[in-house]
Symmetry: C2
Subunit: 341 residues, 2 copies
DNA sequence: TTCGATAATGTTACCGCTATCATGACCCAA
DNA sequence: TTGGGTCATGATAGCGGTAACATTATCGAA
């Protein structure tokens, strides 16, 4: 069965066509486009005119094949849907597009096997670099990456053993710091609502940070105060409901991710639980809405834009041949204190 | 100055290498990968083993060049940052990745000139299709697209003259319907907070829908009730503040986009303005948080996921050669009535 | 036995561009 | 005048695959 390629076969204008029209060799056209200064002004003008007339669009596929370079960079996220990432994506895309690079984006659904497939697909596209918002990978993923020789940034967490480049903040330290902050405020029964820890290393690290802070201060962790919830307003409400029904209620709750804290705050409003008098609330990600709620909610400010920006910048400088050997860039975090604690 | 290509020159394994190791011709390897059923099982096993051993990753760039097909689809958004789009992106990515296609995403910053550049870049990559979340384009953009012959979906608004395929809902009708709904509820001084209309056709269409509804019912539009605001919580608060300070206060406000209604609701809380008793509030996009707030906020439910899904599906079927000539797919919208009106 | 259909594999050319080296034009100092 | 430098351009040979056609092996029916 022959596929009816009814579309896409308007035979495209090639460099050769432009060359003929301009009365030069294809090579000169190529130069006029990628190294204009190597071509005399007169010739260049002729060529540009010919391009204009023919509507020529250079075929980067052919160019990439011939030059063994591509102008794409791959980005793999655990979930595109999570709007927290959109600032990171945008920041990366901005930096890259300024240098003529395009961003290939894909979604691993938090699965390392899926990530493996995507890495392979990206390498197949001969991306010039990759950003992985994840620090756990399959053996094969790591083998493929180290084999490829392209710059790769891991950005989900600051890892001590990056494959190549690490640009992030420490989930463990951030979580620990926020817990410390609550402890310093005098809270002692601190609930901890984790993201689903399955397939999510960052969720585990945050929990460990929480536990570590408690331990340092000598507060015994209480399993009953630690629950997991999906990343939604709904789940946040549910978690809050559960925790306030305990016989020994928490005096504060640290929501370790996403939008859960907002859901919980909404639920408090509904249940007439006063924040922070009855219960304090702290959040991990500093979503815009947290500062607008009444009361406004204390949270960790994560350098999301900087991560995208730095990751892309480092990749670019690597591509351009700058050494910048193995890099680990800690972009830190901030505790933004608000009314809720 | 020679660029130090210290990275990326681990000379990659080629199909030829695999072929030699498996004692077959490159062509057989190619077939084993893309049409396995054309190769005998024995040969296929040999080839797969060779691939495994060498860690071969097919070069899609070369494949695309030779076959004149690519496995990428381009998506251009006015702003990646706007989290409203993330569901659309994800839905499209899901559909595409199931068929082995990758998504190139870029951001036009609401500028048609930027869109033009991106379209050119995408065509340069020989994307198999494109999705543009916008219905206004430069002459050149349209020329390039119609020239390319690839399937292109416009998804920002249901337009009567799509370049090729239109998958969306009608901003005009949606806005009009919501305004009608408010009018039917008995509200007569209805404020309208628009997104910045500059470079944003959709914002204008929504405003027109609002005006049209008013006109139909014979309510005279009042300039004082119509203001523009950026798409942020902050801007929503500001808009509300302005409107309630008017001598003749509105009895309802329709926030025609993004997250502004939530900001306004927060502000009401702070100012002790009762919703809907003192003022009713309606929102255009049905963000998750609107249904969780107290009071919950009436809004228009836009088929964001369906748009991504349909757009990608139609493009795929076009690529595969199905006719589906010029398509206009109206995915509609829903008014979700809640406590705020 | 022989021929043609079918399945499995190979050969060749070429996709559209760029790296590399070769060439020609021009200029100036010796 | 001549030789060698510089600048602008051209010719050639791939990049790593795949389309299209060619070839060989295999097998059953005539």
């Amino acid at each position: 069965m022959k596929k009816a390629t009814r579309f896409g076969d308007a035979r495209a204008v090639r460099m050769n066509d432009v060359a003929q029209r301009a009365n030069v060799s294809p090579m000169t056209v190529s130069r006029a486009l990628s190294n204009p200064e190597m071509v005399s002004e007169k010739t260049r003008d002729k060529i540009l005119a010919a391009i204009e007339q023919t509507g020529y669009v250079p075929n980067r596929i052919a160019g990439s094949l011939a030059s063994n370079r591509s102008n794409t960079v791959g980005l793999i996220l655990p979930s595109i849907r999570n709007s927290l990432f959109s600032e990171t994506i945008q920041a990366a895309a901005d930096v890259l597009s300024k240098k003529g690079y395009l961003l290939l984006i894909a979604d691993s659904g938090h699965l390392v096997e899926e990530e493996e497939k995507l890495v392979e697909a990206f390498l197949g596209q001969r991306v010039s670099g990759m950003i992985l918002h994840n620090t756990e990978h399959t053996e094969r993923t790591m083998a493929m990456i180290s084999n490829s020789g392209i710059p790769v940034v891991e950005s989900g967490d600051l890892t001590s053993h990056p494959m190549d480049i690490s640009v992030s903040y420490s989930n463990f330290e951030a979580s620990k710091a926020m817990t410390r902050y609550l402890l310093d405020k005098g809270y002692r029964r601190i609930g901890f609502v984790s993201l689903l820890s399955k397939n999510n290393n960052r969720a585990c690290l945050r929990r460990d940070g929480y536990l570590s802070a408690l331990e340092e201060v000598g507060v015994k962790a209480d399993e009953a105060l630690m629950i997991e919830a999906g990343s939604s307003l709904e789940a946040g409400r549910g978690a809050l409901t559960k925790l306030v029904q305990l016989a020994e209620k928490p005096d504060a709750i640290f929501f370790a991710g996403d939008i859960m804290a907002a859901g919980a705050a909404f639920e408090c409003q509904k249940l007439n639980i006063r924040i922070p008098d009855d219960i304090a609330i702290a959040s991990f990600d500093d979503l815009d809405i947290l500062q607008h709620m009444s009361p406004s909610i204390t949270s960790l400010q994560i350098p999301r834009i900087e991560i995208g920006h730095e990751a892309a910048s480092i990749i670019l400088s690597r591509i351009e041949g700058q050494e910048t050997s193995a890099v680990t860039k800690d972009l830190g975090f901030n505790i933004v204190e608000r009314q809720s604690t």
